[in-house]
Amino acid sequence: MQILIEYMSYPFVRYAVIVGVLIAFCSSLLGVTLVLKRMSYIGDGLSHVAFGALAVASVLKLSNNMLIILPVTVLAAVILLAFGKNAAIKGDAAIAMLSVGALAFGYLLLNVFSSSANLAGDVCSTLFGSTSILTLKRSEVILCLILSIIVVCVFVLFYNKIFAVTFDETFAKASGVRTGLYNLLIAVIIAVIIVLAMNLVGSLLISALVIFPAMASMRVFKSFKAVTVSSAVFSVFCALAGMIISMMTGTPVGATIVACDAVMFGVFCVIGAVRQ
């Protein structure tokens, strides 16, 4: 406890906690939609693209690498969504190519152009998140705050439409809802969330942040609203627990958060089984 209070007195630790909670909250919101629309793969593909974009940004030595990562990832989301719809091109194979390609090019770029002495460490922290969250600047925290507020507002305002499009896209379309537009909206929000979450858990572990809360809550709760609320609470709790444990024991923060998610998922499975 003493250690924890001591840690909290540093502003960068406080920033990390604020950002961590925000990211965990946002990433859990669309989890249910993603899982049920069989769009989890888009999240996975996008995280690799984001890694590639990050590599480009660091090679170009931009002061704020979000400026490249965010638009590239959003663009990739739009492209992936179009691939997913088009059955003529094998959708999932195209996504696999795009994401693995981005990963490979990203690593290649970092290797060829990087001036850093500890290249393996840099790559590892981008992939698994470790240190970057503790080096956040005030401006990055504010950007994260703004993006989170936008994500939450969009989600609340379009909640009913997102529900309808997730549950029965054909019905929604036949009722006059512009489903293509909402699919696009969902993909863009996911892209934003992934870019945010890269700071916290790194690009390889992002999917966990999106999928675990939704899958766990779906086992216990019976309405869309309850599942959504539960996902948010689940995700924030695990992020906090993970960050605290990692501070106390010195484990990598991203992996610890995901481990908490996995353990809590197990707990929810048991609760779900008992309830039946």
Partner: protein, 235 residues
């Protein structure tokens, strides 16, 4: 005046024409059964009538009928089978086409959704989870949702598939009552016995499709042949 009319429709996909030059007029209060073997393009026709896809040729004219007055009950998807949503949430989503720029449902819409649930006897299931219901209950929930969307026309795609005979009969009863109250019904079905009992018109989809009144259809060679094959197949 006809509610929905098809003019010289050619239906199919870019490399496969299913049938050509289909014309018919559906009037207010009609109860149309769309029958025909699997793969003859019944669902495709329905999607064309709804404007979800374009016909290869011809056009669908819906005189003064707004998209928000049509309710569509599609075939169930795999996604829905393990969907965590309460009955209330699903029925209420029938109004999604009328939200416009409003983010939330109005009190009046919530009241109507409750009425729809009562009408189909699912109001006591309101907070139950959709995936835990029986097939018949699920279909009644979806019908209640469709009723929230529809004020004039209901299009249903094999709504009784997978239901037991008792529940099927119950379902047809509910639909018939709606039809008597003035709702126009267009239903895809393989149930020739039900078509005989309930339909006012039969739209037979095959190589040469036809739209006829029920009596005329069952008196025709085609109707006879089809029902004999059906009844033999089911026996």
């Amino acid at each position: 005046m006809s509610l929905i009319s098809a003019k010289d429709l050619t239906i199919g996909f870019s490399d496969l024409v299913l049938y050509r030059d289909l014309s018919f007029e559906i009037n207010e209060g009609d109860y149309v059964f769309v029958i025909g073997e699997n793969g003859t393009g019944k669902t495709t026709l329905m999607r064309t009538l709804l404007g979800l896809r374009k016909p290869l040729k011809g056009e669908v004219v819906t005189d003064g009928l707004k998209l928000s007055e049509i309710g569509y009950l599609p075939q169930q998807t795999i996604v829905q089978r393990d969907f965590p949503a309460s009955v209330k949430e699903i029925v209420l989503s029938g109004f999604v086409g009328r939200l416009g720029i409003n983010p939330f449902y109005s009190a009046a819409q919530k009241k109507k959704a409750l009425d729809a649930m009562k009408r189909f006897g699912v109001e006591n299931l309101a907070s139950r989870c959709y995936r835990e219901l029986s097939g018949g209950q699920q279909q009644r929930v979806l019908l209640a949702r469709t009723l929230c969307a529809a004020t004039k026309v209901l299009l249903m795609d094999e709504p009784v598939a997978g239901l037991d005979p008792f529940v099927t009969e119950e379902f047809y009863g509910l639909v018939e009552k709606l039809n008597r109250e003035g709702m126009t019904i267009i239903m895809i079905s393989h149930d020739i016995a039900a078509a005989k009992k309930y339909a006012s018109h039969i739209l037979h989809i095959k190589n040469d499709p036809s739209f006829t009144e029920k009596k005329e259809y069952f008196a025709s060679g085609k109707g006879n042949e089809f029902s004999i094959v059906r009844e033999k197949g089911e026996a």
